[in-house]
Symmetry: D2
Subunit: 402 residues, 4 copies
């Protein structure tokens, strides 16, 4: 019989860039008894999470919570705002940007995919000037939306969304701005309203520290307006009924009650720590991780320090080292999961997640596992990344967040 509950001695280290480790208190919250989603108690829960999630997105406008995992929220952003055959400008930042583009094609849209050549495009974020240039050419406003990934989970590179907004404004182009921050939300600074984003897409299993299963669309008034005329067929994903019923704390169809319990707990944790403190912590851990990678003499996948991800770090392995074989070694020897190289980066990198419910010692455990694993795999390291990271953390003088 399958023993799901079996685990070997000691904790598994789940250091992939999501799902991130779910804190015990969230798992406990998820085990509250399921209640009637039409009953009086539910409205309290509904109103609380709807209000709280807006604070995380930094928006005054509606945020739709879907009882579906993140890929669904990608689809929702497209089908609510666009019509069959619409041209959308999408920017290639990595594997997930590529998958989103493929989804747009499947839905009958006409994505135009721009970016930097080769893997160079996977090592730097969005180049807003390319977007601006393309939009200036589009005097007929054929392009209906610009789609950008804020935090590329496949590379550890973020994109400067404010610069994209500026580029669109500079070009005087009316396209909608759709942003995926599935893996960035609640780990990396994000400002839906201030940055003028029309639809922000996110998920539960990253910075929100929940299991996968619910996802989000944060809206702008312009996006809501666009949804009135958009002609892609939609029902489950339709914003209007949800936004309307959410005013009373309910959903038009059955929401994912127990994941909403978890979300309520996650909001208490994050807003209790303070979003700014959460970002500071992520930045400190990410910096410690990059210091380790440099000390090892390895290359960080992200080639532009201005857009390092606070969520994960992509580590490029030298010629002759199969990164997936290395990950397997580390898994088997140290019970730690690391992220694989995806798409163009298959076998050439591994990804270290340092997001969500992570602290200094968990990161150090992770780095020791990587360092030992690389030694076992016979890699020659320039020096001890662990020592370098410890030096950095010692210098920081930050108490843990009580």
């Amino acid at each position: 019989m399958l023993r799901l509950d079996y685990h070997p001695a000691g904790r598994h280290f789940l250091q992939i860039p999501g799902p991130s480790p779910v804190p015990d208190c969230i798992l406990r919250a998820m085990s509250y008894p399921t209640i009637d989603h039409r009953g009086p108690e539910f409205a309290e829960l509904g109103l609380k999470v709807i209000d709280g999630i807006k604070q995380i997105f930094k928006t005054q406008h509606p945020v739709v919570i879907y009882p579906a995992s993140g890929t669904g929220a990608w689809e929702a952003a497209l089908v609510n705002t666009l019509s069959p055959g619409d041209t959308v400008l999408m920017y290639e930042t990595g594997h997930f940007a590529t998958l989103w583009k493929k989804m747009a094609e499947n839905l009958g849209l006409n994505p135009e995919f721009i970016g930097l050549p080769g893997i160079e495009g996977w090592r730097r974020g969005v180049q807003a000037d390319q977007i601006e240039a393309r939009l200036r050419q589009d005097s007929g406003h054929t392009i209906k939306a610009v789609c950008v990934v804020h935090n590329e989970t496949s590379t550890g590179v973020t994109s400067d969304i404010a610069s994209v907004r500026k580029a669109m404004d500079a070009a005087g182009h009316p396209a909608l701005l759709l942003v995926d921050t599935i893996s960035g939300l609640a780990s990396a600074d994000y400002r839906h309203d201030e940055w003028g984003v029309d639809v922000t897409v996110s998920g539960s299993q990253k910075g929100l520290m929940l299991p996968p299963g619910i996802s989000f669309n944060a809206l702008s008034p312009k996006a809501l307006e666009a949804s009135k005329t958009a002609r892609l067929p939609r029902a489950f994903w339709g914003w209007d009924e949800i936004v309307e019923m959410n005013k009373t704390g309910y959903w038009p169809y059955t929401p994912s009650t127990n994941l909403l319990y978890g979300l309520s707990e996650a909001l208490d944790m994050i807003l209790g720590e303070g979003l700014d403190n959460v970002f500071i912590r992520h930045n400190r851990l990410a910096e410690a991780c990059r210091i380790a990678v440099r000390a090892w003499g390895l290359e960080i996948q992200c080639a532009d320090p201005a857009v390092y991800s606070p969520v994960l770090t992509g580590v490029m392995t030298p010629e002759g080292i199969d990164a997936d074989q290395l990950r397997k070694t580390i898994y088997e020897r140290f019970d730690m999961s690391l992220g694989t190289g995806l798409g163009k980066m298959k076998g050439r990198m591994y990804r270290i997640g340092h997001l969500g419910d992570c602290n200094d010692l968990t990161l150090m455990a992770t780095l020791t596992g990587c360092e030992m694993g690389m030694q076992i795999a016979g890699m020659k390291l320039a020096g001890s990344g662990v020592s370098a990271a410890m030096d950095y953390l010692v210098s920081q003088r930050v108490p843990f967040n009580r």
Copy 2:
């Protein structure tokens, strides 16, 4: 601060027709740590639940498990098999059949909605002869699918799916047969393959005893074939990639890991008890409930004993009694949730759920709550439904299922 975890003394009785009470062991299973859905452990889980759920649907063919609640699975059934403007024959059995029809419209289909007149249609299941007659007229095969609800959650009436299949065969019509058994699965006898169903839609929060959040499409080879030419846009709901990757126990995008833990536990419980025993138990409890309703001198919403639902019983309230006010009284006095009258039945009935993790004494508690609540509400009852139900249960001589 919202205290989600607060509950007054004693257990809440959640006797709505879903979400049904989630057993402790399923809640515990859902609190296992979230694992990497690309790691080696996950495949074991994936293969187990994919195999197990087939046994519940009684099918040899693929069952797609969506990380989305039941309404999504309705949409999936339509968008995978149909093209814009397609005519679908839908049968009005109640509120949920009506909502499914509305969804078909929203997705750009052309539903033809047939049924019995007035509320009569909500008190009897599908009339297969009406379907046969309509299909015989459709010599050009404009109708691409027949859509039927197996267990109408809004009424407590089931439909004879085998008779629909026979009607379609008798008419020699090639339309697909799409069936919603969201609230019937694992409570009422259901046979996907034997009954020749092409797509069966179901959800987690009813007979499977899970919280809401995952849902199902059981497929036939004919449905899979149809999906190759169906032209409604789709991505998230697309069967092909999921069916392909499921062969190794994985999903193309992030599944709802912790609900799959719960599903694994639910399958152990249900297959451990034995599906036939589960059905016998549901039938016994439903019969006890109906005996009580009759003893009270009230009318059962389902007017045809051949299609009584084993999942829930709709109780019609006499003129002058607002069923929702009665439900409120019972909730406030006895901490019990009952189902409301939906759509055409608003205020004229209440629904008693007796599905899932229910046993004799829980049902008796429920009936005492109803009987006392009706007395408090000033209703004159013909007799004690509680006494009548006890007499029936005493006569049954069935040990509980150890």
Copy 3:
């Protein structure tokens, strides 16, 4: 392999007079991670539960919390206050009073056991005049303590502790008053200080709704004074070090951390509902139960209405009916546990627990299980206890305790 987590469909009804059903939120609280009982967080927990439990005992004086089950707290009360060979006056109210007396003998004390003759003593509480008379005879003050059980778990009879205090005062006797309210605390009114009790003994698994495993000694200044000269050997049970360290929220040795988490939650629940409301609820449920027993035409074990227990009701079975066989039938048919007849009452009664996390519908479920079980066992009942209990509850007009 033993599957502890296995349960058949539906909830087990644990209607014994303790352990009482543990609410989910207490089980969840018990699953918080174990912390360092010498660390800074622990003191907060320690101080909270020490303060809260005093409110339950209604005392201003120290309450010692032992990491041991209730029998240990009996021993603690004796060894902290008495010396080898000391005479103690104990009153026979039932099986547990008898066990306590046996324990006193084992510890080298000289218990004098008084009471009413035959099973009559098991059907009425303490007769304070007997105690007064005996103490008046003891002019030499040989008797060092009077030991009384406040709520006899074996019978469903309480004892009037205030009357015992008055009797002792009237006799002008300096003996200590030791009271066992293991099964009464937090279900039946209890006033340690007001009633002049010197040591009150209690446990966790009854009105406090916790699993078994911790227990209590509430002290008076006189008891603390007596402990300085008492010569029975003691170490683990010794009050002095615990009382001293408790001032800072710690214990001299390892406390039962996770049960203290549960206690913290239980205190929030009980003090949140309000002790008086808890007592009112227990009295209402107990009265409903007794009304049912009378309607069945059966005898309540407690023969004096002034001392009916709000915790449990002892139901005497007629000649020719083996109460344990009946309990077995009910267990096997309805998955409900009832209490057995103990000692002198073996086979002649069963006990219905209606304490702790119980509400109207749970009690009604219990009564239907009893009534159906007795019918299956072939007992002729005078009438329906279930109907009578419903009539009573309907008349009460009390909302459940939100």
Copy 4:
């Protein structure tokens, strides 16, 4: 309001020598609903844990499980085997040996406390020749028991119990051998029968990975025989009734049901991994820890490599460094708890726990926390203990225990 469930971002590292971190699956097992400890299900649980725990102690004879924490099991060992005024030979190995001696005095025994002078006695285990010499002098057999601590939690020094047995045999002395392995059981090799121990005392919150709250006495036939004539008063701790009732899987009084659920799970984990594998893992982690301490240039409290503890390592801090201030720094900066120096070692050492549910990366996290904390505290370290420990672990080539 006290928020017990609050925890800052990331896991707390509980690296004290007990309570050790409780695995999630044990916490989950402890949340199974409390059952009737007199009902049929309970016997299965009782028999399972009674049988399993014998395998852990490596004994064929009874093991008594008390619903009380470890200090109680110390008392039980003494009161079941000894009579007032009996002389017992106790050996000073550290703080806990000293506390046990104090308990013996409190219980009216006459302990004779031998050992090495000064703190030298706290840095080496039992010197069996001293015991042999003392027993040889005792030709009148005044000494009724020899009491030794197997794993001194206060120092990280074990004692060679087999050598004590040999010494007693060599002296031809009939005293009982009582051994405390509260913190050693299931982490360090232990053989109750083979080593001829008469009573072994242990607890739950160390190698068994449970919360505190239950404890153990493993018995020999000779100990059982001695209990028949031992005259210290006892009731709660009395072996005879427990041993007798345990034959059917029950206890004479209420056991700690939910901790027994946890014990059942712990036994599955430990016996599933294999006791020998558990010991190998503990030894590997302990060796890695000692290598780190030496690399730092610090002294290990245990001065005899033959008796290093696999459970914890005592680290002596240099002159001028207050070890408790250092522990506070580490707690506040890195959310890690370390053990304090006790008794004679107050402020002069800290203790690193590496027992129970621990693995390579958790140990490495711990060592990085220590190393960084010592740097922050301004200590000059000879080198990096972290690097040295990594080198050792890399060389071990042991997969984690799936």
